[in-house]
Symmetry: C2
Subunit: 347 residues, 2 copies
């Protein structure tokens, strides 16, 4: 099993954990109140498949309730898709979140890793991808958009030839938009009726609730029906279900989060640019992939631990090695600490 | 997907829900405090597989940490076992909790339902079962103990010939002890080293936290290792993990629960015995299976709904029909309401 998911070592309370990509604004008082209120209902079973939350989400997304599925985090839905569809051949655009690989390995799929390269700044060229798909003819293509860990985003109009080809050959696209709330880009959610796309959305990251576990998926109702045939009952807890309306209604939180991210990304870019021995990649998400030009990222992590700062070494991502690390974008105070620590280390 | 899990219709707040088997004592102030405290940590990922809770449980159960696995409710572990072991042939002792059937249908197992009968008061005769097992030679036997919905319990010493035979033929026993805390009987947990048993335990029912989702499994470490190969990460939320020590340490709650159950079971037995047109079965759990001698249980449910009382009709259990219903044992006040309502209906 995976070993990531944040720092769990000694002095956990003191350590600034840049390895997990969570909105540092945290939950609001309103969410807190809602959670406290929900304690009174934990002596009841949660809805078997989160029906009322499906309705809330469907209304927001302007889709039908039958096009939505709720999960105990996006993770449940990745594994569920693998089990329900058991695709024979899967193309995964790498480097990316490594649970896709594990989920489809478990169902015995043939995995074809389509690796983006450092020399091309890990950019996806759809023409080249299309060529690869025509060669491999997969049953499923997996794309994380924006991608973890590169932070790159590809727009619908650029992706369209790929999606059209996927449809043409009777395959599916699993499109993980877990980090899309951090971008100003448009989701593919309006295209699930015309194309065989299963879109994943996480509420964990933008709304700072990884401890609660909450994600959802959107697709045409044929895909959702098939997933429901395999879905386990009562996977989403009462607390997670209770706060969905509250967090989605909070426009102030949304705006404040956007403002924070823009300011802090600019700050980090500006500072990282000054560092001659570190490469980094422009990100549309709330994290930045970096690369040390000398030595390896484990050394960097060890040195940063002396400042009680923990970073994510990325050598377990397909196509990356131990020179890569990823940092979350955190509060200004924390980002300053990170930058100052790296500066001291590189001196 | 299943439709049970409690009443979710109109006037939900007013309805006394006898269809779900939850300890009516509810959570204590200590648990409530712990949950409120945990709100401060939901911006972190929960432990990937609940490692620290495994240790707590292993200590209590006097087993190794490597012999414990935590689940998002027992449900996760039932489906996980099905996926990890993919048994070719499964014998399920019926009537019982119907998620076993669904889980092993999904993995394509051949299901052999071994049906206990009304004429034999749904008692399990191990000799007869042994004969059936010798005939069918399954890869897995599933027994819920005490059984839902009959409430019957079978002791280790009586089960031993069956368990020995299961071991002899290289099969497994999935032993669901979700309701064992309500009995005064001994668990099979001390025998997981010598026998291929996967024991399931729920914390949902006795500790009145179905909304939180929490269960665990115990088996020899070979079985647990195999399950971990297939286990999905981060399935157990922060709240569920946070309260385990608190609820297990609360001896007063344990004693009070036992006292309540004994008193209320006696009360319900005494009153049900007076009803000539209702059969019932002695239960070692916190629910009682009943049977109307005339008409069907849907009529009874409809009539009880006029008293804002909801019962579980059991016609979806293999081997039962629409004359059967199940009632949870609730608080004295609620049980009196149930009995008085049934009396009025039967008049």
């Amino acid at each position: 099993m995976n070993k990531h998911g944040g720092y769990y070592g000694e002095n956990q309370e003191k350590v600034l954990d840049f390895s997990v990509n969570i909105n540092p604004l945290g939950i609001t008082e309103k969410v807190k109140e809602k959670l406290i209120e929900s304690i009174n209902t934990i002596n009841r079973y949660p809805e078997i498949d989160g029906e009322s939350v499906k309705k809330v989400l469907a209304d927001r997304l302007n889709v039908e309730t039958s096009q939505v599925i709720i999960g105990n985090g996006v993770i449940e839905l990745i594994y569920l898709f693998a089990r329900a569809f058991c695709p024979n051949k899967v193309v995964i655009i790498q480097p990316t979140f490594n649970e896709y690989l594990r989920a489809f390995n478990l169902t015995g799929s043939i995995i074809c890793n389509y690796e983006l390269t450092y020399s091309n700044d890990f950019n996806l060229e759809t023409n080249a991808l299309l060529g690869y798909l025509k060669e491999t003819k997969p049953d499923l293509l997996i794309l994380c958009n924006p991608n973890n860990p590169t932070g790159h985003f590809i727009r619908y109009k650029d992706l369209l030839p790929v999606i059209s080809y996927i449809k043409e050959i009777g395959a599916y696209l699993l499109l993980d938009e877990s980090f899309i709330d951090f971008t100003d880009e448009e989701s593919c959610v309006n295209h699930v009726k015309e194309f065989p796309i299963f879109i994943l959305r996480s509420m964990t990251k933008f709304y700072a609730i990884p401890g609660l576990r909450l994600g959802y998926g959107i697709a045409n109702s044929n895909i959702i029906n098939k997933l429901n045939e395999y879905k386990e009952p009562w996977t989403i807890n009462t607390f997670a279900l209770s706060i969905v309306s509250t967090i989605l209604d909070d426009e102030a939180f949304y705006k404040e989060s956007k403002k924070w991210l823009q300011a802090e990304k600019s700050y980090l870019y500006k500072e990282l640019k000054k560092m001659k021995s570190i490469d980094f990649f422009n990100s549309q998400a709330n994290f930045i992939l970096c690369r040390v030009k000398k030595g390896n990222a484990y050394e960097m992590r060890e040195k940063l631990m002396k400042y009680n700062i923990y970073i994510r070494v990325c050598d377990d991502f397909v196509g990356l090695d131990n020179t890569y690390f990823r940092v979350a974008i955190k509060s200004h105070k924390d980002n300053v600490k990170l930058i100052n620590a790296i500066k001291e280390i590189l001196q």
